[in-house]
């Protein structure tokens, strides 16, 4: 049943997987080790309701992510949640391992791993062509809001603001989306966490 569950979820979110499945179900069944008895369960793939449910689920996630990353996405002419829901970057996210593996940040509500799509999408963005200072700024603001809201230890360090180091420039980000450029020589005077960002840096680091 674990294999059935895994494929079922993949088919809901990944267009690429669904296309491959429609084209050659046998290969996908073999790939996911679905037994002959279980294969008939997947008849729902051709149902209109399944297609509508998938688009609804994808739209919900698009809405959640767009709230956080709207500025980054606007730089790529993605100007609304509707645009985003149809975008290549969202499809790429749903096809990726970032979406289907545990988030590396704890949930702001529970302090437990894996109940957030925002850190997962951030990981995808910074590991791809979409990486930019704006992505880091959007995510930094998310951390600040989470820090002032969550109360969990992990986020509280960001509650008053943080410093973003992008391309050896330091940007002090505060609540309400305010930001101030800080001269490099005085950055040590600021007692705030520093996010080390750069183009091509795949892993999130904080100092």
């Amino acid at each position: 049943m674990k294999s059935v569950q895994k494929l079922y979820i993949r088919l809901i979110f990944s267009d690429k997987m669904l296309d491959q499945f429609i084209l050659n179900p046998k290969t996908i069944f073999e790939l996911f080790e679905i037994t002959n008895e279980e294969r008939d369960l997947f008849s729902f793939v051709s149902e209109e309701g399944f297609k509508i449910e998938r688009s609804g689920r994808q739209f919900l996630i698009a809405k959640e992510l767009y709230k956080c990353f709207s500025r980054s996405l606007e730089a790529h002419s993605i100007l609304s949640v509707k645009d985003f829901a149809q975008s290549e970057v969202l499809k790429m996210f749903f096809d990726s391992d970032f979406f289907l593996t545990s988030a590396f940040f704890p949930s702001i509500y529970s302090g437990l791993n894996g109940y957030e799509n925002i850190p997962k999408f951030f990981s995808l963005m910074i590991s791809s062509y979409y990486n930019s200072q704006l992505v880091w700024e959007d995510f930094s603001h998310y951390l600040i809001i989470a820090g002032s809201y969550s109360g969990y230890q992990y986020y509280s360090q960001y509650s008053e603001g943080l410093i973003l180091n992008w391309d050896d420039q330091f940007l002090f980000l505060l609540k309400d989306h305010q930001s101030i450029q800080i001269p490099n020589e005085v950055v040590k005077e600021f007692q705030y966490p520093i996010l080390q960002a750069s183009l091509g840096l795949a892993n999130f680091k904080t100092t």
Partner: protein, 272 residues
């Protein structure tokens, strides 16, 4: 049905002023807390009895429940002294610990899913202790071949019977499933173990603009007339229902929240 208490779902502190106002108007008897909540959140400030609920535990997952989360919900149950606690019969992920992938995902209706759900619920019961569990379904959009149950209502009833759980009948989800699957609202009720329904939920919904005939759950909208009609038909058929909970998000506005609570109060008063 001696009395039905009226409540609303509460997710965080931002909602507290709305709840306090509704309480001052005599429209609320309880607050349903959707656990886990942020540490700084303090629903006690509303000053009403609390009911515990969660949407985050994957009761139908072949990877089992999230015990850390279950322990947090248990703390919530103790904190609220909830008479029962709500849980969704759902999946949240494909692999273990992937996290929630955008609201609850329905199980496939097979004997295997049934066994897994029962096993997970028994585990949950051992964590929650004496607090009864009430099971809830999400809205359904499709059926599949080789279903071992007539439909999702049959499935939840059988799981509830096998694990001695209560049921939360979400009228909006029920209505949406009936519309999406071309079912009659009255006819489908026969598959629900009505004796076990202890609570009902009501929320907004909208018909898809691109695919007429298909409906979506929408907590930022007020319940449309179709849902009120379904509620007025369904409620009298539930002999043991004790609570009716409005689900309305802060993305909407307070006047709709209040109007919806007024309608619920009127409906419940009329029925008793």
């Amino acid at each position: 049905m001696d009395t039905i208490k009226i409540g609303a779902r509460w997710d965080d502190n931002k909602q507290t002023p709305w709840f306090k106002n509704a309480k001052s108007k005599g429209l609320l008897d309880f607050v349903e807390i959707n656990f886990p909540i942020a540490e700084r959140d303090n629903p006690e400030k509303i000053g009403l009895p609390m009911l515990s609920h969660t949407s985050d535990n994957p009761l139908c997952s072949s990877h089992g429940i999230n015990e850390n989360l279950a322990n947090l919900v248990k703390q919530g149950i103790e904190r609220t002294q909830s008479p029962w606690t709500g849980e969704h019969l759902s999946l949240l992920h494909g692999d273990h610990n992937q996290g929630a992938l955008g609201y609850v995902i329905n199980p496939l209706l097979t004997n295997e899913s049934f066994k897994i759900s029962c096993r997970n619920i028994e585990k949950l019961k051992s964590i929650y202790g004496s607090c009864p569990i009430a099971l809830e379904l999400g809205p359904f959009y499709f059926t599949h071949s080789n279903q071992d149950f007539r439909n999702e209502n049959h499935f939840i009833s059988k799981v509830a019977q096998a694990t001695d759980c209560k049921i939360i009948l979400d009228i909006t989800h029920y209505f949406i499933s009936c519309m999406n699957l071309n079912r009659d609202i009255r006819e489908s009720l026969k598959d629900i173990d009505k004796e076990r329904v202890i609570e009902v939920h009501i929320a907004g919904a909208r018909e898809s603009a691109n695919n007429p005939g298909y409906w979506f759950d929408s907590h930022q909208l007020p319940p449309p007339k179709e849902i009120w009609y379904a509620a007025s038909y369904i409620l009298p058929s539930l002999p043991n229902v004790q609570a009716m909970t409005l689900e309305y998000s802060m993305e909407g506005n307070e006047s709709i929240f209040v109007e919806s609570l007024e309608k619920i109060n009127k409906m419940v008063k009329h029925l008793l």
